[in-house]
């Protein structure tokens, strides 16, 4: 009973925090003169009304999930990775390079190879702040954010220079993008007429993998110990700096993979703006999902819904899609506050007593 109550309590608090966030969002919507009810209705229901809408939500769920899983590994190990955006960009560059260099490899070799390259690229970009933190105590908040800028410039440099589509040169339009990558890299589209690709299975498999890693293996045990109480971990003989670096490498690798899969599954070429804030939204998804794969999957779906729904509001109600970013910010604030509520066992006790009293009463009424 208590355990069931516990889970129920947590879910209720999270749902309440969504409602509070939406209320605060409503104030902003009123301020810009929008129709609040209609806007929310569009965001939350319009995408789910047809096949295309649903698949587009699922499509956005893929990078969100993978990035959030990586963030979770870092967060649980005591390091906050805000650099997923940059790690994703480097991952995309690595994947693109492989695809450009080996266009004739068969799919079953090229796809794993390219995704691995993306993972390695992201891992390298995650290793830098991890190493700096472990060895020199450089704050990861600073280093990851700064590396985001460097990655963004590198990305632009490669797309405008070495990787620029030769066709753009001849046409002279100069759009910074790579050429259409080889078809051998394409991830299968699952439903004809939609963009949903097989990357969704990779995302779900990775969620399972992270669950096993963090909660079922000794590596995860050590990482979580290092993150939960560094002193005790050190005392227990755990090499905390080593696991910090490993965690950041994994975190970066996941962001890089998210980028690689986004390229192979959706865009099929490296273009500007592929990362489109997934690196940051991933942090929100990870926190919203309770830093646990089982929570991240639904959280990623919810944010996929918000992102796609926001595109629709722009068209249907004339509310700028950026509103979703405002909502995201509000949700982060509300979630952090709701953590305080969750951490208060006395409040929980009071709620439980009242709940028990209520259910007893209603049961009596039913009997009568």
């Amino acid at each position: 009973m208590t355990k069931r109550f516990n889970t129920g309590y947590k879910i209720t608090v999270i749902i309440l925090s969504i409602l509070v966030a939406m209320l605060i969002g409503a104030v902003i919507l009123i301020a810009i003169g929008a129709d609040v009810l209609k806007t929310y209705l569009v965001i939350l229901t319009e995408p789910l009304k047809n096949k295309i809408g649903i698949t587009e939500v699922l499509l956005r769920m893929i990078p969100l999930t993978i990035v959030a899983l990586g963030i979770t590994v870092a967060y649980r190990s005591g390091i906050i990775n805000i650099g997923a955006e940059g790690q994703m960009a480097i991952g995309i560059l690595a994947t693109t390079a492989i695809a450009l260099l080996f266009p004739n490899l068969p799919s079953y070799v090229l796809i794993p190879f390219a995704i691995l390259a993306g993972a390695l690229g992201g891992a390298f970009w995650g290793f830098i702040p991890g190493f700096l933190k472990a060895k020199l105590e450089v704050s990861e908040l600073l280093s990851t954010v700064m590396l985001n800028y460097i990655a963004a410039q590198l990305y632009t440099f490669f797309l405008r220079g070495p990787m620029l589509d030769p066709a753009e040169l001849t046409m002279g339009s100069g759009t910074p993008q790579s050429m259409r990558l080889t078809r051998n890299l394409d991830l299968t589209r699952l439903i004809p007429g939609t963009r949903l690709h097989s990357g969704i299975f990779i995302a779900i498999a990775l969620a399972l993998l992270i669950y096993l890693l963090l909660w079922k293996t000794s590596y995860g045990f050590k990482m979580r110990a290092a993150g939960a109480q560094e002193r005790a971990a050190r005392y227990g003989g755990i090499n905390v700096p080593k696991y910090l670096i490993i965690a950041m490498v994994i975190s970066g690798a996941f962001a890089g993979m998210a980028g690689a899969i986004e390229i192979a599954g959706v865009h099929r070429r490296a273009i500007e703006g592929v990362t489109s804030g997934y690196g940051f939204s991933g942090i929100v998804v990870a926190l919203f999902g309770g830093l646990h794969p089982a929570g991240i999957l639904p959280a990623a779906f919810f944010f996929g819904l918000l992102l796609y729904g926001a595109d629709m509001t722009q068209r249907l109600v004339g509310v700028p899609a950026n509103m979703v970013q405002v909502l995201q910010g509000v949700i982060i604030l509300v979630i952090v506050s709701s953590k305080m509520i969750l951490a208060n066992p006395y409040l929980q006790q009071r709620v439980e007593t009242k709940w028990l009293a209520l259910t007893k009463q209603s049961r009596k009424e039913v009997q009568a």
């Binding site: 079922k216 293996t217 000794s218 590596y219 045990f221 050590k222 979580r224 110990a225 939960a228 109480q229 002193r231 005790a232 971990a233 050190r234 005392y235 227990g236 003989g237 755990i238 090499n239 066992p345 006395y346 929980q348 006790q349 439980e352």
Partner: protein
Amino acid sequence: MEHTTRTINSLRVEHITKRFPGVLACDDISLSIGKGEVLALVGENGAGKTTLMNVLMGLYHPDEGKIFINDEEVHFKSPNDAFACGIGMVHQQYMLVPNMTVLENIALGYKQAWKGLKLDLALVRRQVKDVIGKYGLTVDPDAYIWQLSVGEQQRVELVKTLCLGARFLILDEPTSALTPQETDELIVLLKRMAGELSIIFISHKLQEVKDLSSKVAILRHGKVVFQGTTSDHSSSDIAALMTGHEVVLPHNTGEACCLGPMLQLKNLKARSDRGFLALDDLSLYVCKGEIVGLAGVSGNGQRELAEVINGLRHVESGQILFDGQDIANFTPAQVIDAGMGYIPEERNTEGIVPSFSMKENFILKDSTSSQFNRHAFLNNKEIDRNANELREKFDIRSPNIEVAAGSLSGGNIQKVILAREISRNPKFLIAVYPTRGLDMGAAEFIHKQLLQKRNEGVGILLISEELDEITNLSDQVAVIFKGKIQKVLPSSKASRRRLGILMAGVKDDEEI
């Protein structure tokens, strides 16, 4: 609530009951204290003492029961209400701002001195002087908090509470962080104050209960099991009532014999966090099957010594020979693998991962051992079995093995650490303040376990400030002062007086 300055002639609580998730913390408690009385509130960890005091302070609302001051019922909605009635509390953790002076700290809470944005420090100074003069407290109002020792900080807390108008003092384990000398001073001071104030103090140490209190109330499992006049009862009576059984702290009765050195420290030098030499050419050895008690006022290098041996602090020079092998500057994992057990000083932040479950904490050092691990995957069945076995064997009181270790009481946390360290079958054990803040029952248990390990041939370095603990358990007593060993003497020759002199840094010449 009106701020009154009336004296408190009596304080009475009736039928106070307070429930927490899964626990009945206070169960129908009734107590009364008159003017000039000192009530000692004793009981094991988790008996409900602190909860009761928090109810008196308005931090918690009782589920049932009433509080009366001067026979008038009062309701405390917040600590401010309790304070307005003249009840002041000095907590175990002092609430002072380190980089402000004593005067500024007191001014922070002194509402009368604030006029808009202007602060009348002169008024505060007068008030502080008044209080200091009245009770003979020695505090320099212009000293910075960080310059003061723990004992001095506590006096600042007292002055602060009194300046703000407290006429009824609650002290939560006031001596737990003090040195023996500071404890004696505090007791003299509180006795003097008791002439004008009523005091409730919480304590585990029966000696000070005898010395200071006029009345004693014993709590067990949230109930008052005994109330009476202190002078009518001996310490051992009180101890027996507290735990529900006769408590005899065990003594080391074994023959002191050296079965060969196990741990040899040679000319160790190491620096503290602040960069000064915390260990200065320290040498000491401990044999197999021997307990060496390391006595000393805390801050003389004890923490650094324990960390250096366990690979948690860099050794500048010197050797640590462990079973013949030099383990100086090994990593913590290597030291653990060499067979070292360590009960650290900070049990809540270093000895356990508080958010981890009890069973996870049991394998903190062994997550990769073949017992709990197969191909990198944790063997949950074995982990559960191990946890249940240890929980039973070490009498750890918790609802189950899944509870977060940090939610356990201090005594039970210490048992978790002890269980882990002992079950790993170490060759040597370092125990730092193993019973600090624990009640008699838990201390008895831990002492017995340490003695049993000694008799099994494990060498133990016991670092403690409790002289009784050291003399009861040790074969040899070493005294540390400013990072050096002052003297090593057999336990039989280590009288309290002699140890006290050595701990103060005076060279011992009794034998010459």
